[in-house]
Symmetry: C2
Subunit: 108 residues, 2 copies
DNA sequence: TGCTTATATAACGAATAGCTTATATAATCA
DNA sequence: TGATTATATAAGCTATTCGTTATATAAGCA
């Protein structure tokens, strides 16, 4: 009935996931809109496997959700059960510009 | 004039600090009231050097503040320049009971 | 079917973080 | 001053995390 109790263990595990610049950048990107892996790779300016492994951690931690749409896999935020994160996510710097620049290159 | 810009690098470093159960517990304790190291050691149920090293990280990260009052050093929250944390800190589980139990033992 | 693109997984080395034990510093008190 | 209490620092070991390279899977297309 009331809000589900949040344990320190659970919260600290989640915060550990966000305590990495690439993963936090991914969260900032996904706040704008759902994004496919190739665009994330471009913005992070890293290798595809590296981005993929960070995405896996975020997914395993329940912070993001994935959907396949033909050959692309789109990631999106999944913060429904973590209301304590909303304010912080909102205050992340905008990634809009960097995400637009990517598409001048075009990854797909 | 406007709010100071927050970088992803800066935020992720701060979140990394909070991504450890002992450090997050310390933050939850300090939300209640400023606390000396010996009480923190008791609640965390760890060794004094371990607690001390976690406190040092929080201090170096600008999350807490210390004041010496005779032989005791009291730590307190320092969140003035990190408004994005306030909601999360507020939603940490209360440490009131655990902090009261400690004083039945009495560390000082 | 074979080729190409998108993504995930595995394996490994390097770097980092965490905890422990031992020791140092600082304050109080007798 | 010496003993005691509170706290910090150092050193070393272990465990975890990170990024890389190589490889696997999956979808689309010719």
């Amino acid at each position: 009935m009331g809000a589900p109790p949040i344990s320190i263990a659970e919260m600290s595990e989640t915060l550990k996931l966000l305590g990495h610049p690439m993963r936090l950048t991914i969260m900032a990107m996904l706040r704008e809109k759902e994004t496919c892996v190739c665009d994330i790779v471009d913005v992070l300016d890293t290798t595809q496997p590296n981005a993929s492994q960070h995405l896996k951690k975020l997914k395993d931690g329940g912070l993001v959700h994935e959907t396949r749409r033909s050959q692309w896999i789109y990631y999106s935020l999944n913060l429904d059960d973590k209301p304590y994160l909303t304010e912080m996510i909102e205050q992340l710097p905008s990634m809009r510009e960097k995400m637009q620049q990517i598409h001048s290159k075009g990854c797909s």
